[in-house]
Symmetry: C2
Subunit: 172 residues, 2 copies
Amino acid sequence: MDVMTAIKGRRSVRSFTDQPVDQDMLLKLLEAAVWAPSAGNGQTWRFVIVTEETMMKKLKMVSPGLLGDPPAVFVIAQDMALSKQKGGQMGPETLTKMDSAMAAQNIMLAAHAMGLGTCVIASFHPGAAAKLLDMPEQIVPTLMVTVGHPAVKPPPPKRLFEEVYWFEAYNG
Amino acid sequence: MDVMTAIKGRRSVRSFTDQPVDQDMLLKLLEAAVWAPSAGNGQTWRFVIVTEETMMKKLKMVSPGLLGDPPAVFVIAQDMALSKQKGGQMGPETLTKMDSAMAAQNIMLAAHAMGLGTCVIASFHPGAAAKLLDMPEQIVPTLMVTVGHPAVKPPPPKRLFEEVYWFEAYNG
């Protein structure tokens, strides 16, 4: 699928069929994730893919944003100690969030091109999710992306365009 | 260009030819940006595209990460007041950074598919850049993306893969 078609066709999908996502598809999405850029090529991201039913239920209990019944969730965590070592204070506070988000966007675009639906989720309790997933102290979940076969194709929400850009200087 | 080809072929380009980027290409990249997802569909992003030589020189003076001579720079700012209103404290601190990064990734992938080179930049002085670009207090630059015709095609840096993912729980 063409890049621009994927960018414009991707939707936030929150309703999935019961069909699981094949492991080779999940690995392809991981591959898309790790080809995102990262601050100083630090690649401080760490991914846990949850597919097992009991773990998914527990994860949902600590994640208000995790709606519906996705067959798979990518938990994008960051090694905050490594990030601080590489990027100073800006690493854990800012760069890790941006790196995770760029990796998430790659996952979502690649998934859409494969006929899968996704939704990015920032509303969860990082500490509780980390404990659940056996993460040591320096590994902190930053974003989640649900993945599954879409049960519905949501309509595109209206996009602002002319209102949000200017050339050379802000003129809002 | 196919999504996965763009994801894997995109490089961080820091050396550009003198050729300017056509305005219709810049607008196409903006279109890619605004089709990124945003927290609660808030679309709190605001874009200033700098192409004018004097402004570019000034912008470089406040942006240590802005290297080389790109013919265009997307300054991705956020309306922090609007973000706080929509998402509470998590808006300005976290969601704005992630939204900007997902928009940046769309710009970079779309640009690569159009034969353009890009580099995402987080190292700049937000306050100084905001002042330079006439941004009011609540509009804060979060990320920049340089855009131009690549003078070189950098080799891909090595990607971690097997070392950075696990299924069901962290096992680092």
